[in-house]
């Protein structure tokens, strides 16, 4: 499903160069619920961005469902993200001028094969699954932090992706809400068989994962999934 081979990522150049990832090799199988653990600055975000095709690694290869990202052009990577990868961000990254329904619906507009009726049905189903059935017309500033992250989760899953990458999805939430979000992700993983990879440094939330990848100074602690 996800295969990384000797991934290195360096920011800056020459003297100011900073190595964020120092040769990561790993494989994540389909349908797993994986946590990416490690302190701040350990390279979690860099790794997620590379897996999602948001950044190009300085060295190494990334394969998603057998496709080497280096062989894809910008439009093909965009299409891969649109159809196969969902993203959940620490700051939710919802569009403030759109309602919850519209936020979830917006990425589906670019999937021409999805009819308007199917789009609306998917949005309603997803908002129902994340527990926001009655709050679809509210804008992000009318929702709590936990509710916003649920909208972001619904948005990530509405396109029926194979993989959801979540970068510190609970960092801006209280413990209880954060646990609820991870449990929601866990249940969606079990119901839909979607592969989840989420970054966190909270031991309690990391403990909810099937598999934990530990990063320290840009290296994997164990090399392979626990």
């Amino acid at each position: 499903m996800i295969r990384l081979d000797e991934i290195r990522q360096t920011y800056g150049s020459d003297r100011s160069a900073c190595a964020a990832l120092r040769g990561i090799t790993l494989e994540i199988r389909q349908g797993t619920f994986t946590a990416l653990a490690g302190p701040s600055g350990s390279g979690k975000t860099s790794l997620l961005n590379i897996i999602g095709g948001l950044d190009t690694p300085s060295a190494g290869t990334v394969s998603i469902e057998g496709r080497n990202l280096a062989s894809l052009n910008e439009a093909e990577i965009s299409d891969l993200r649109l159809r196969r990868i969902g993203f959940v961000f620490q700051d939710f990254n919802l569009v403030p001028v759109l309602s919850a329904v519209e936020n979830v619906e917006f990425p589906l507009l670019f999937r021409r094969e999805i009819t308007t009726a199917e789009r609306r049905s998917r949005v309603a189903t997803m908002l129902d699954q994340v527990g926001l059935a009655g709050k679809g017309s509210r804008r992000p500033n009318e929702l709590s932090g936990g509710e916003r992250q649920r909208v972001a989760l619904a948005r990530a899953l509405a396109g029926e992706p194979a993989i959801v990458l979540a970068d510190e999805p609970t960092a801006n939430l209280d413990q209880e809400t954060g646990t609820a979000i991870i449990e929601l992700m866990r249940s969606l993983n079990r119901q839909q068989g979607v592969t989840f990879l989420y970054a966190s440094h909270d031991p309690q939330l990391i403990g909810l994962a099937d598999t934990v990848l530990r990063l320290r100074d840009g290296r994997l602690d164990t090399g392979l999934a626990e």
Partner: protein, 408 residues
């Protein structure tokens, strides 16, 4: 698609103060263009109507070859009386023609008492002259009328040279075929046509008097006045076809071929208008470019999120371009309303112009609302807004997604 447009529309009003400033800049540019073009077109129209209703009419009909050769052999290009009547009948049959009259130009020497001056005579039909002289001001005396067979009108400059006043006896002398001809007439009025050179030399003489002086009864030109200036090309084509059918060997010139001063002014101001358009476009581009750039920089995380969710760079660019288009359209609509409103007010108040070059009098102008110019100003405003958006949009869509998300 509706959601896409809804998002673009809401984004436009996200920062209302900034949007208001952007709309004001576009509207001000658009209104400035409408006003400037309207003022210039008003001057053009005044000049055009001066030329048409003061001197040339809408169309002039001559014998074929007249325009090119009449200075070398004027006698050869005259139209005999019976043919003149046929032509007048054909011309007057056209529904768009208000009036058609005969003219004959000649030159000679005019004397009042001990003062004399050369003049350029224009033989006119007295009963038609008032209709063809609507933009001519009578400074003293009375206009020509059907019963005035021995009265003439002098241009202001010519009257001053002769020290003539209405009621004075005036002698006209011409040399025709080596023979000196003279006639005694009465100065009935003094006119001001608006063009100094015209007023300094011109004497309007009834054709009856011209026939006495030149002794041939022939017509040099038939001048045609139409109800609407816009119909000029169509009527010209119709008359040309009609003359051809009747076997009349004639040529037609329209006012815009004859009014050289008008053409020079239009050419000069036309270029000036293009420069103004360019300046306004640059100001709008610089002003709006900065505003759009700021808006895009502030939304870089959101735009990167769109990319992360799978939107192609082209789709993100389309969204931003749609926002620019909406802003440009709204600014243009505001600008059109503002421009038209100001044009109406300014026209009501009037713009007092000093005497233009070559003219003899100041005039009170206004602002013409020209549909084509209003549309051009609106299109230019929208176009400038879109051009202003291109650079910030390109920067936004080519920024690496991961980097844009990190800097959020």
């Amino acid at each position: 698609m509706i959601l896409f447009l809804r998002l673009a529309l809401r984004n436009v009003f996200r920062n209302r103060t900034r949007t208001a400033v952007a709309l004001l800049a576009i509207a001000a540019g658009c209104a400035a263009l409408i006003l400037n073009t309207g003022i210039v077109f008003n001057i053009f129209r005044e000049l055009r109507e001066d030329a048409i209703r003061g001197r040339y009419g809408h169309l002039q009909i001559y014998r074929q070859g007249y325009s090119q050769h009449h200075l070398e052999d004027p006698e050869h290009y005259l139209i005999p009386p019976e043919e003149t009547q046929r032509i007048l009948s054909l011309v007057r049959a056209n529904a768009r023609v208000v009036r058609a009259t005969r003219r004959r130009e000649f030159s000679g020497l005019a004397s009042i008492g001990d003062r004399d001056a050369p003049f350029l005579g224009v033989g006119v039909e007295p009963e038609d002259d008032a209709e063809f002289s609507r933009h001519t001001i009578l400074r003293a005396g009375r206009p020509l009328s059907g019963g005035d067979s021995s009265a003439v009108l002098a241009g202001l400059g010519l009257a001053q040279k002769l020290n003539g006043q209405p009621g004075d006896e005036i002698s006209l002398m011409t040399i025709e075929g080596g023979t000196l001809n003279a006639v005694q007439v009465r100065l009935q009025g003094i006119f001001e046509g608006g063009f100094k050179e015209y007023d300094d030399w011109t004497l309007k003489v009834p054709l009856q008097v011209v026939d006495q002086l030149l002794m041939d009864g022939q017509t040099e030109q038939i001048v045609v006045l139409l109800a609407r200036t816009e119909d000029t090309p169509q009527v010209r084509a119709e008359l040309e076809a009609s003359f051809q059918r009747q076997g009349l060997n004639l040529e037609i010139r329209s006012w815009n071929e004859l009014a050289l001063f008008h053409n020079q002014v239009v050419s000069l101001f036309g270029r000036e208008l293009n420069v103004i358009r360019l300046i306004v476009a640059v100001i709008v581009i610089l002003g709006i470019g900065n505003t759009i750039g700021m808006s895009i920089v502030e939304r870089r995380v959101e735009l990167a999120t769109f990319r992360a969710l799978g939107m192609r760079p082209r789709a993100v660019a389309s969204l931003l371009m749609t926002e620019a288009l909406i802003t440009g359209l709204m600014g243009a609509i505001l600008g059109v309303l503002l421009g038209i409103g100001l044009a109406v007010v300014v026209t009501k108040v009037g713009i007092s112009y000093p005497t233009p070059p070559g003219s003899t009098r100041p005039f009170l102008g206004g602002v013409d609302i020209v549909p084509g110019a209003v549309a051009a100003a609106a299109i230019l405003s929208v176009g400038a807004t879109i051009i202003a958006a291109v650079f910030p949009i390109c920067r936004a869509i080519w920024r690496p997604v991961g980097s844009a998300l990190r800097r959020g």
